[in-house]
């Protein structure tokens, strides 16, 4: 990883956390809901922690150069569990395609939209409606 990439990580992480303590439940207004970025890379870390799960993923720029580290923020473990996730849905080294609403300030971070795993499984970040016929 280059110094530039590390700097990017620092800025992205700080930008994500600038609204307050790490992971404290907060508004997602720092992410731009009008833009979608697809991160195609290798998972560096999958943090299954309250109040917000995070994915850190190394992404190789299409224009070439060293991989860049992106930090993606998700909802809580409880909400993700109800959407079919587990704490082992991702592990370091997994190939993954993660769609995000990027940070408005252009740094390497975003709010989670969708995960496509290497096997083609799709995970989203919210809870579905009530299960039909069982309520």
């Amino acid at each position: 990883m280059t110094r530039l990439a590390i700097s990017g990580v620092a800025l992205a992480t700080l930008a994500l956390l600038s609204a307050g303590p790490a992971g404290a439940h907060h508004s997602f207004a720092m992410f731009d809901p009008t833009k979608v970025v697809v991160l195609d890379g290798a998972v560096k870390e999958f943090s299954w922690t309250n109040p917000h799960v995070s994915i850190r993923i190394m992404v190789k720029p299409k224009a070439g150069g060293e991989p860049e580290l992106w930090t993606v923020e998700l909802t809580s473990p409880g909400n993700l569990t109800r959407a079919g996730w587990t704490r082992t849905t991702l592990k370091p080294g997994d190939a993954a395609e993660v769609s995000i609403h990027p940070l408005r300030n252009g740094e390497h971070g975003g709010g989670f939209l969708k995960l496509k795993t290497a096997s083609g499984q799709i995970f989203v970040g919210g809870s579905p409606g009530p299960q039909q016929g069982v309520s």
Binding site: A29, N50, N79
Partner: protein, 276 residues
């Protein structure tokens, strides 16, 4: 005529008798009687609110614009500023300190699920997040305390009108927000009174019809409804959600014990990136 000795003996006996008697103050303390089999059986006639209730986030978003609180003029000006900040991507973040959302914000804007428990004389709401998300609604006929200790969730008493639970809440901390999103909301500033009518509105759909009176923040009573959707899978049950956990990292101490350590903070109070 009793001698000095016999008078002393009488006083001693009286003293023993007085000491053996129960302290009058203890007899005055209220207690909760043990529920009877009939009390437990009567719960079966209540509506089925089992399962996990997840807030309808889409409806929450619609409510934010379609039925805003009737703020007082000065609070309304503050809220317009907050909404502008939110729209520009610089939210204030009402709950970033991890204190409980409390009442009425838990019911209004939470993204997290809850379960509802019926026991004799009490309805209990348990929720994810905050680490201490708990509401007790007493249905045993008691009144509010004359001067309740202020708390995030207040003091709630309830009664059943058919299949509707009517809940009356006072004693909420004045700092607790009346929020319409995680960024937009105002402290209730005290003297808040909340009446809720909680009922099933359809299969797997729970409505909480709220009437919030907060004379220091609202110009009139605000009537609004929030919707919760039932989930029944085993994986849907509420799980532990300690908000403050995000401030710590899992580590080892010198003795090799598994411990939590505070995440290093930078000079601005933010968490420094790992590996720095």
């Amino acid at each position: 005529m009793p001698s000095r000795l016999s008078l002393s003996a009488v006083l001693t006996v009286l003293g023993v008798l007085i000491q053996a008697a129960p302290a009058p103050a203890a007899e005055l303390l209220p207690s909760t009687p043990a529920p009877t089999a009939k009390d437990w059986a009567s719960l079966a006639s209540l509506p089925d609110w089992s399962g996990t209730w997840v807030p309808d986030m889409r409806d929450q978003g619609l409510q934010e614009t379609s039925n805003p609180p009737p703020w007082t003029p000065s609070v309304a000006a503050e809220m317009r500023q907050a909404e502008a900040e939110e729209a520009s991507g610089a939210p204030r973040g009402l709950f970033i300190n991890c204190l409980p959302e409390g009442m009425p914000s838990w019911m209004l804007i939470s993204h997290n699920a809850m379960e509802i428990l019926f026991t004799p004389g009490q309805v209990t709401l348990l929720g994810e997040s905050d680490g201490n998300r708990l509401r007790r609604i007493y249905t045993d006929g008691r009144a509010h305390p004359a001067d309740p200790d202020p708390s995030f969730h207040g003091h709630s008493i309830g009664h059943w009108e058919g299949d509707t639970l009517v809940v009356d809440t006072v004693g909420v901390l004045p700092e607790t927000f009346i929020a319409i999103s995680e960024s937009v909301g105002a402290p209730n500033d005290g003297d808040m009174h909340i009446v809720e009518r909680i009922h099933l509105a359809g299969p797997g759909v729970l409505h909480d019809d709220l009437e919030i009176t907060a004379p220091h923040a609202l110009s009139k009573t605000w009537k609004t409804t929030r919707v919760f959707l039932r989930h029944r899978l085993v994986r849907d049950a509420i799980s532990e959600g300690v908000c403050l956990q995000g401030l710590f990292a899992e580590s080892k101490d010198k003795a090799g014990h598994a411990v939590f350590i505070p995440v290093p903070q930078d000079s601005g109070g933010n968490v420094a990136p790992k590996g720095q």
